[in-house]
């Protein structure tokens, strides 16, 4: 048998007997890769958890999982599957910084993972970690370095099958490139890869097979190049079309003489640190979309806060509709409600645990004449949200629903400018496209201006009228 991993008839049911994953079969040959893509909630991560015998209690798996050289195991046999860790199976978890013990040195973490003496050095060299990095504590590592340590563990243990669950989640493009390099290294080393992702770029850069999971079923499965070039299923086509590079371009003209927001000679530095940005000028006309991009830690979010009057710049001025607001609460007050923010974490704008309807009703305290009963249904319709969703709590919504609900909340405040801080980076591509289209529609219909902060340059190219790129601030590790 040449398959390193074969999964047959995998079904996962929750405690109520509902099928979450329905009859999935695939095989990965030795040295091959399978990338599984799909939207959030489609059951991708459950497949990985089932393979590792880590399903949450209450969920039941059926089917067989076979690893090369082992007898076929029942998917319900969690203990048997766990016994295969390290020797046969290795997991590269999502959010690498959270997966390492912050107060343990790198060498010790590697040793605990089963690497011995000289093997540690070999594994570290393979992922370009320096000798002295071995003495660093988990908390001293940047996200990229933590990811390399995790891959070093997988390399060092010699497990033939490596499972990577969303290895590029929340990473900026530069680091995504690094992760792709690391995963390819594993393939060169003769390992088999099972990668779960909703990252377009990662899916497109890995060789081997590509499978698309939708509603718990594999709707498409084939060679990666073929699936990407000509997806056959409707969901596959929507997924491929969600690449911002493929969005229809929109040439718009806005009246540059009427500025909603502008800044002159803006600088900001944390006390005792070199400035994050210096002498920045920006102009946002009414109805315009201004993109701001740059790597993590370059001060994108801080710039947004300065423009919103939440933080005082070290130097320079911020003007709202022609009026300087730096250090002038009296100038901010009458316009406060008109300058709003969309958060990166979709549900962040809502109080956890409180039904959304109550949170919308409370807006009448700040918006004169706002009647949730009258305004809400129309608002929800425009954002294509089901009316029943407002009776839920914020954490009971999916990411896409929560972000649209946040947009509804911001629109209810009747804003002039929305500063959107990575509003879609936590959403999967299809949902990102929907959300962005809705944002653009609303902006055009109401003449709202948007500052779109993102590290996705292709997204900004597709949607922004103009883009400002910030450089990495000095002293921030890659």
């Amino acid at each position: 048998m040449t398959d390193a991993l074969a999964v047959e008839g995998l079904r996962i049911r929750d405690a109520g007997g509902n099928a979450l994953v329905d009859d999935i079969s695939f095989a990965i040959r030795r040295g091959g890769a399978l990338t599984l893509i799909g939207e959030t909630g489609s059951g991708k991560s459950l497949v990985a958890l089932a393979m590792l015998g880590l399903l949450p209690s209450g969920m039941k798996a059926t089917g067989t999982i076979t690893l090369a050289g082992e007898r076929p195991l029942d998917a319900a046999d969690g203990r048997g599957l766990k016994a295969l860790w390290r020797r046969h199976l290795m997991l590269v978890p999502q959010e690498p910084a959270a997966a390492l013990d912050p107060i343990m040195r790198v060498r010790r973490q590697l040793a605990l993972a089963g690497l011995l003496g000289a093997k540690i050095d070999v594994a570290m060299r393979a992922v370009d970690l320096e000798e002295e990095d071995g003495g660093k504590f988990g908390f001293e590592l940047s996200g990229g370095m933590a990811q390399r340590v995790l891959v070093a563990t997988a390399l060092g243990t010699g497990a033939p099958v490596v499972v990577a669950d969303e290895p590029t989640k929340c990473l900026d493009p530069e680091r995504v490139g690094q992760v792709i390099g690391l995963l390819r290294r594993l393939l060169l080393d003769g390992r088999s890869l099972f990668v779960i992702t909703h990252d377009r770029r990662l899916a497109q850069s890995l060789p081997g097979q590509l499978a698309i999971l939708h509603g718990g079923r594999i709707v498409e499965h084939g060679r990666a190049e073929d699936v990407i070039a000509a997806p056959r299923s409707a969901f596959g086509r929507a997924w491929m079309a969600s690449d911002p590079a493929a969005w229809p371009s929109c040439a718009r003209s806005c009246d540059r003489s009427r500025l909603a927001l502008s800044a002159h000679g803006l600088s900001f530095a944390w006390p005792g640190r070199p400035p994050l940005f210096r002498e920045l000028d920006l102009h946002l006309p009414r109805g315009g979309i201004l993109g701001i991009d740059g790597p993590s830690g370059c001060g994108k979010t801080t710039l947004g806060d300065v423009l919103l009057g939440l933080r005082r710049p070290s130097a320079g001025s911020v003007e709202w509709a022609g009026e300087d607001i730096v250090g002038r609460p009296d100038a901010i007050r009458p316009m406060r409600r008109r300058y709003q923010k969309l958060h990166q974490e979709p549900a962040a704008a809502f109080i956890p645990g409180v039904p959304l309807r109550r949170q919308f009703e409370a807006l009448r305290l700040v918006v004169p004449g706002f009647d949730a009963l009258r305004a809400l249904p129309e608002l929800l319709d425009r954002l294509k949200l089901r009316h029943a969703l407002v009776d839920r709590r914020p954490e009971e919504l999916s990411g896409g629903e929560a972000q649209r609900m946040s947009l509804a909340r911001v629109l209810a405040l009747d804003p002039r400018v929305i500063i959107a801080d990575e509003p879609t980076s936590r959403l999967d591509p299809v949902v990102q496209r929907e959300t962005m289209a809705l944002l653009r529609e609303q902006v055009e219909a109401r003449g709202i201006s948007v500052v779109l902060v993102s590290h996705d340059a292709s997204l900004l190219r597709a949607i922004a009228d103009e883009t400002i790129s910030l450089a990495r601030a000095p002293g921030v590790p890659a």
């Binding site: 939440l310 409600r337 962040a348 704008a349 809502f350 645990g353």
Partner: protein
């Protein structure tokens, strides 16, 4: 079927409240009546939990003591938690100077052993319920203030608070709607543990002749009264101990299920 946590918590709380209100009525005998011919009698048909060193019915005393032990403990904890919450919110919301004032005040109080302050006040004002409550209140508020300050400070940094500020909500509404519920949720377990401590403090003060005076049937005082007679009557000493234990256990269970139900499980 599993009972839903909020209902279970409500059930336990109702049982405790019923004990506090109806306990004295359920007492089969007069809890103060001495019968010197029947001292330290073992449990039997007439005295289910036996009699104490002056011949009083232990079951009646445990039941009649519920409003004193429980009521006063809950009252003192409620007062300290309210003061602590208020001062904690003030500290979290009034900048570095305001926090420094409140927290140094708290440090000052925390420097004294809690019981000593209550003792001091009770001694100065000649004992009685009010000085005892004031003393316990003074000794207990700092821990609630510290917890409230820490929780409020971290909540004030969250996205929903920023979003509310951007929407133009006044600061007091943000404190009331966004911060206070979270603070109360973290204080609840502390208050529940504090109730057990308060029962014991009230007992200690009673033992020293301050606070509640004998022959008031108060659980802590009953334990200290009967401790010298442990060899003759294990059941009699165990009864008030069991009452305190059951109460604190019930309160913690109620608190835990409340804390569990007020935050929905994280949605994957």
């Amino acid at each position: 079927m599993r009972i839903a946590p909020p209902r279970r918590a409500a059930g336990l709380a109702a049982a405790i409240a019923a004990l506090a209100c109806l306990g004295p009525l359920a007492a089969p005998m007069n809890p103060l009546e001495q019968d010197l011919m029947r001292v330290m009698e073992p449990p039997g048909a007439r005295h289910w939990l036996g009699t104490d060193h002056v011949g009083r019915d232990v079951l009646s005393r445990v039941l009649a003591g519920a409003p004193y032990s429980l009521g006063l403990a809950l009252l003192s904890v409620g007062m300290s938690a309210s003061t602590g919450t208020l001062l904690g919110l003030v500290a979290a919301n009034s900048g570095a100077a305001g926090r420094a004032v409140v927290m140094r005040l708290a440090d000052l109080v925390l420097a004294f052993p809690g019981l000593l302050l209550a003792l001091l006040l009770s001694g100065l004002f000649g004992g009685g319920v009010l000085p005892m409550l004031a003393g316990l209140h003074l000794a207990m508020w700092p821990q609630y203030a510290r917890m409230a300050d820490a929780t409020a400070t971290s909540t004030l940094r969250e996205g929903h608070v920023e979003a509310a500020r951007l929407a133009g909500f006044p600061e007091w509404i943000i404190l009331l709607r966004h911060v206070l519920p979270r603070v109360l949720r973290t204080l609840a377990p502390l208050a529940i543990l504090g109730t057990g401590q308060a029962i014991m403090s009230i007992a200690a003060l009673g033992f020293l002749g301050l606070g509640l005076r004998p022959p008031t049937p108060e659980w802590g005082a009953m334990i200290s009264d009967l401790l010298p007679f442990l060899a003759e009557g294990v059941v009699q000493v165990a009864a008030p101990c069991a009452a305190i234990f059951a109460t604190v256990l019930a309160l913690s269970l109620a608190g835990r299920s409340l804390a569990g139900s007020s935050m929905p499980p994280r949605v994957r």
